[in-house]
C-alpha cells in the first residue's frame, strides 16, 4: 500500500493508506484525532474542516495521498497547552454549540475566515462566510456571537 507522511499539529506522522483514503479518515482512523467530524457525504456540511498548508479545506474531500509533505492543523492543534484558543474560549463563553457536532468545523472555518478577511468582521460578513458550515441543531445565533467575540479576542491578543 502507498505511504504518506505529513505534519499534523506540528508532529511528523506517516502511515499506509489506500488511494481512496480521505484526509479525514487518515486523521480519525489512523491518528485517532477524532475531533474532526464527518457530517455528510456530499461535501456540504463543513464538520470536517481543517487547515491544509494554512488554508481551510473540507478534509472529507481531500485525498490523504495528496497531503504528502503538507502541514495540517486540526481542532486538536489550536489550543496552547491547556489554554483554549480565543476562538474556542468564545464558543464556550457564548454557548456557541448545542450538541457540539459541528463545532470543530465552525471553529476551524472561523479561523480561516480571519485569515481571508482580517479581524474586522461584522455580523453580516460572519453569517455569509459561514455558508460552508451547517449546524444541524440550528444554533446559528450563538455561533455568530461566538465568532464575533472570538475575533475580537484574537485582535486584542494581537
Amino acid at each position: 500500500m502507498p505511504r504518506v507522511s505529513l505534519t499534523v499539529n506540528g508532529q511528523t506522522v506517516a502511515g499506509e493508506v489506500e488511494g481512496r483514503t480521505l484526509l479525514v479518515q487518515f486523521l480519525r482512523e489512523h491518528l485517532q484525532l477524532t475531533g474532526t467530524h464527518v457530517g455528510c457525504d456530499t461535501s456540504q456540511c463543513g464538520c470536517c474542516t481543517v487547515h491544509l498548508n494554512g488554508i481551510g479545506v473540507k478534509s472529507c474531500t481531500v485525498l490523504a495521498l495528496a497531503c504528502e509533505g503538507a502541514q495540517v492543523t486540526t481542532i486538536e492543534g489550536i489550543a496552547e497547552a491547556d489554554k483554549l484558543h480565543p476562538m474556542q474560549e468564545a464558543f464556550r463563553e457564548h454557548h456557541g454549540l448545542q450538541c457540539g457536532y459541528c463545532t470543530p468545523g465552525m471553529i476551524m472555518s472561523a479561523l480561516d475566515m480571519v485569515r481571508r478577511k482580517g479581524f474586522d468582521l461584522d455580523e453580516k460578513t460572519i453569517r455569509h462566510q459561514l455558508e460552508g458550515n451547517i449546524c444541524r441543531c440550528t444554533g446559528y445565533h450563538n455561533i455568530v456571537l461566538a465568532v464575533q467575540a472570538g475575533v475580537k479576542a484574537m485582535k486584542a491578543r494581537g
Binding site: 502507498p2 489506500e18 488511494g19 481512496r20 480521505l22 457525504d41 456530499t42 461535501s43 456540504q44 463543513g46 474542516t49 488554508i55 481551510g56 479545506v57 473540507k58 474531500t61 481531500v62 485525498l63 495521498l65 495528496a66 504528502e68 472555518s109 480561516d112 475566515m113 481571508r116 462566510q129 455558508e131 460552508g132 458550515n133
Partner: protein
C-alpha cells in the same frame, strides 16, 4: 468509494501519459470528482493529481486577454486584483460559487471539465467568448459545452488554461439554489464594440446563449431593451427546486439584472 490508484505527475506531459491508460481521470480540486466517486455515481481506476503542477496555476494579463490557469482556485479568481480590474463580473461570479471552503479548493478547469448544468464558470466561458486551452489544442468556448456533463474534451485531454478576452463591460447575476448554491438561473453578459453576449446556465442541459436578448441589447445595452423578450420553456430543466417555466422566466430576469449590474 471504490479504491483507485493515485498518481502525482511532475509535468503536464507526464500527466498526459498517465491519462492514456484505461479509466484514469484528472483530479484538480476534487470538489466535484470526489463527491461523485463517494456516491458511486462514477468509478475510476486511477486519478492523476494536477494540483502540484505549478504551470497550470495562476492569473496573468496579456494585452486584451486575461489568462487563468486551469488549477487556479475560485478564491484566487475572486480576490485577484487583475480579474477585478479587467473583468469585474468574473471575480463576482467566482465569489458566488459554493462556499468559502469550496472556493479554497475548487478550480476553474475542474468546473468547466465537469460541466454541471448548474455550474457558474461555463456562463463566463460562453458569455465572454473565451478559448479553452488544452495540452493538445485550443477549443473555442462556443464549441466546448456539448451536453449534460459533456464537453468537447477527448479522454486524457487536460485543460491547461482559459483565455478570456477583456470586454468593455460585463455583468453577472445568479439565482442560487440556497442549499447547494449552484445556479437555478445564472447569466453572464458582456459587451464589446462589435458584439453583445448573453450566456445562461442552470436553465438547460448545458450553458447556452440567449440570442434574442443579445440582438436586443446590441441595439441598446439597457435592461429596458429586454422588455417583451421571453424564453420558450420546452425542454428546459425542471426539478424540485424550480420548474422549467420558472427557470425560463428567471433566465430573462437574471439577464436584466446582469445588464443593470454591468460595469
Amino acid at each position: 468509494m471504490y479504491d483507485f490508484n493515485y498518481h502525482q505527475p511532475k509535468s503536464v506531459a507526464e500527466a498526459g501519459k498517465l491519462l492514456a491508460a484505461d479509466n484514469q481521470k484528472p483530479l484538480a480540486g476534487g470538489m466535484s470528482l470526489l463527491p461523485t466517486l463517494k456516491l458511486r455515481l462514477n468509478r475510476v481506476d486511477g486519478v492523476v493529481d494536477l494540483a502540484a503542477l505549478a504551470d497550470l496555476q495562476g492569473i496573468r494579463r496579456e494585452g486584451d486577454t486575461l489568462i487563468i490557469g486551469a488549477t487556479t482556485p475560485h478564491a484566487m479568481v475572486a480576490t485577484s486584483a487583475d480579474v477585478q480590474q479587467a473583468i469585474p463580473a468574473l471575480a463576482k461570479l467566482a465569489e458566488s460559487i459554493g462556499d468559502p471552503l469550496v472556493r479554497n479548493r475548487g478550480t476553474i478547469g475542474g468546473s468547466i471539465a465537469h460541466a454541471d448544468p448548474g455550474a457558474d464558470y461555463p456562463s463566463a466561458v460562453l458569455g465572454l467568448g473565451a478559448t479553452v486551452v488544452t495540452n493538445q489544442r485550443q477549443i473555442a468556448g462556443d464549441a466546448f459545452f456539448t451536453g449534460l456533463f459533456e464537453t468537447a474534451l477527448q479522454p486524457g485531454e487536460i485543460i491547461t488554461a482559459v483565455r478570456f478576452p477583456i470586454p468593455e463591460k460585463s455583468g453577472h447575476a445568479k439565482l442560487r439554489q440556497p442549499a447547494s448554491r449552484f445556479a437555478i438561473a445564472g447569466v453572464f453578459v458582456s459587451k464589446r464594440a462589435h458584439e453583445v453576449r448573453v450566456a445562461v446556465t442552470g436553465v438547460g442541459p448545458h450553458v447556452f446563449r440567449l440570442t434574442q436578448a443579445e440582438a436586443a441589447l446590441a441595439k441598446s445595452f439597457a435592461p429596458a431593451a429586454l422588455d417583451g423578450i421571453t424564453l420558450d420553456a420546452a425542454g428546459l430543466n425542471s426539478d424540485i427546486h424550480a420548474s422549467n417555466v420558472y427557470r425560463a422566466n428567471a433566465a430573462v430576469e437574471m439577464t436584466r439584472r446582469a445588464v443593470a449590474a454591468a460595469s
